[in-house]
């Protein structure tokens, strides 16, 4: 089954700056508004930080192929 989404959303440290960007975008619907570079520089770090524990857990699982599985005879 596709993953059932259960997500609670709070406010991040950049929310205030981003709300300002969204407000400016809302004033000109359909037009692209650039995110200030100072915010953009911090943005990917913050997104990555939110996912890091989950991604590391996935990597741990995907990397730990038991040796006896690799030696299993399939035929």
């Amino acid at each position: 089954m596709a993953l059932v989404l259960s997500l609670r959303v709070g406010a991040g440290s950049l929310t205030t700056e981003l709300r300002d960007v969204v407000r400016r975008a809302s004033a000109q619907v359909g037009q692209a508004v650039e995110i200030p570079s100072a915010v953009a520089d911090r943005m990917s770090d913050e997104v990555a930080a939110q996912a890091v524990a989950d991604v590391l857990e996935v990597r741990r699982r995907e990397r730990s192929v038991p040796a006896d599985v690799l030696a299993l005879h399939i035929g």
Binding site: A2, L5, L7, G12, V29, G30, M43, A51, V55, V65
Partner: protein
């Protein structure tokens, strides 16, 4: 001059006597020491009957490239004369003329008439001259009631006329040149051949590639199968990047875990080689090519749709079987192998937390009132994740009438990686896994499949709509690009999902 072709009327009577039909079309008859292996042939006949086949066109003297290599590697060495030629059985929905024509002109008229009728051709079965393993390279259409997700269009030429079969290649192991391990890899790679642009590897070539560096016994006959390590080597030799997903969950959670981990790849059109271990019958490999229909909306698929070289094509691998049974089920899964295209560095399991992080990062900025301490719970939603070509993504954007026009422009014009992970967010009260095109999609996250999930540089697009949350939003929709632009969208209608992420071309 004797004709290479003849027609046979087909229906339930022929399905009921598979041995007689096999003897008639391929002269494969039992002896005191050996009976023909019929299980796969029976399953194919039953499938063709369910598909509405009415006529079989038998083609003699076929030089099947896969069998020719099996012949060179093994059967040509035998004292007994084994033909290097195969029989090919083509199936049509068109009624067989009565009386059955024998003259070439009438037979060609049948072929030409079949070509003029859309969807008349159902595919072909190659019959090897081997009593113990008659079913060679086979491509027949799937059933609309249980569609395969991993399939392709294959051209077939008969007497100067071109037909096309839309299906998933199937092969029975011969237990000499290859076992179920090679058969499963062959089925997976042949399905991907045109899309990946790789060479067609025969079972014999796969066996040689698999045992190039580590052979634990003789290479031929390969009755013992392959180890998982050897299987990975064979897939790697074909220019695919095998992703191994160990199933480390046990008990009742295991079938659900297998489906959840296989589903993103199946939805991507990538066959999943599924390794099974049964206490009685030991190690076996099948190839998963689709999902058994979910019993209802908002339910998980009932199992996996598989090609089982030991039993037949388009069968269902159930979640479990009765205790004491020697049949396989999802509960016997040890791990999954996905032959990924080159350059896909992020797995589906890594992509999903990335999408969740991007979603929880951007949603607070989209709300009229900032989220209260403790957070805001989203409307019930389901993620559908798949690997998609940029061409298919843009094509979907172009054709999706409900998609906001500004989003449509950005999706069609922006630079995109060759392959992206698309994480569709669906309204779970409407989403039907059997109908991904249904308009239940309320947003999506698009990630670069070649990015490193840990460095936060994977985001290509995220589109949010007001339907995601139970509170007011600043606009009906919001689109953010990985290049740092924010676009307020005038509309936020639910849209359909992409049904063929790999595209037709």
């Amino acid at each position: 001059m004797p004709s290479r072709y003849h027609l046979v009327a087909f229906g339930p009577a022929e399905v009921a006597k598979p041995e007689a039909l096999l003897a008639s079309v391929a002269q494969l008859k039992g002896t005191a020491l050996g009976q023909p292996s019929l299980q796969q042939w029976k399953a194919i006949l039953s499938h063709l009957n369910s598909s509405g086949a009415k006529t079989l066109l038998i083609q003699d003297g076929v030089r099947d490239p896969d069998f020719l290599e099996e012949y060179e590697a093994f059967y040509s060495r035998q004292q007994r004369s084994v033909s290097r030629l195969c029989i090919r059985v083509h199936a049509f929905k068109l009624d067989c003329p009565d009386p059955v024509p024998t003259a070439s002109q009438q037979l060609l008229a049948f072929v030409d008439e079949a070509a003029s009728q859309q969807d008349s051709y159902l595919g072909f079965v190659t019959i090897r001259p081997l009593r113990h393993a008659p079913v060679g390279a086979t491509i027949i259409q799937d059933l609309p009631s249980i569609p395969a997700l991993c399939k392709d269009y294959f051209p077939v030429h008969i007497a100067g006329t071109k037909f096309t079969v839309h299906g998933t290649p199937y092969l029975q192991q011969d237990n000499a040149v290859g076992a179920c391990a090679q058969a499963s890899i062959w089925m997976a790679l042949r399905t991907l051949r045109r899309r990946a642009g790789n060479s067609a590897y025969s079972p014999a070539q796969l066996t040689v590639s698999a045992t190039k560096y580590t052979a634990l016994n003789r290479v031929f006959p390969g009755r013992g199968g392959l180890t998982v390590g050897q299987m990975l080597e064979a897939i790697r030799a074909s220019n695919h990047d095998p992703l191994v997903i160990p199933i480390q969950v046990s008990g009742k959670q295991k079938p659900e875990a297998v489906i959840r981990q296989a589903q993103p790849y199946l939805e991507s059109g990538l066959p999943v080689v599924t390794l099974l271990h049964h206490p009685k019958t030991l190690g076996h490999a099948v190839v998963a090519i689709g999902l058994s229909p979910a019993p209802a909306v908002n339910h998980s698929p009932a199992g996996l749709l598989i090609h089982n070289d030991n039993e037949g094509p388009y069968l269902e691998l159930p979640r479990s079987v009765a205790g004491g049974s020697d049949k396989y089920s999802l509960a016997h899964t040890t791990n999954l192998i996905v032959p990924l295209p080159e350059g896909v560095f992020m797995s589906a399991a890594e992509a999903e937390p990335q999408a969740m992080a991007a979603l929880s990062f951007w949603l607070p900025s989209f709300l009229v009132t900032p989220a209260v301490p403790g957070g805001l719970t989203l409307n019930p939603a389901i993620l559908r994740t798949y690997l998609c070509t940029r061409h298919s993504f843009r094509s979907w954007a172009k054709d999706c009438a409900q998609l906001d026009s500004a989003a449509k422009d950005v999706y069609r014009i922006s630079e995109m990686p060759r392959l992206v992970w698309v994480i569709e967010i669906h309204d779970s009260t409407v989403y039907d896994p059997n109908k991904p095109g249904l308009q239940s999609r309320v947003g999506e996250v698009v990630l670069d499949s070649a990015a490193d999930a840990l460095h936060g540089d994977a985001l290509v697009f995220i589109r949010l709509t007001s339907k995601l949350v139970p509170v007011p939003t600043t606009q009906p929709g919001l689109l953010v690009t990985g290049e740092g632009a924010v676009i307020a969208l005038a509309t936020g209608e639910a849209v359909g999902g992409i049904t063929e992420p790999w595209g037709k071309d």
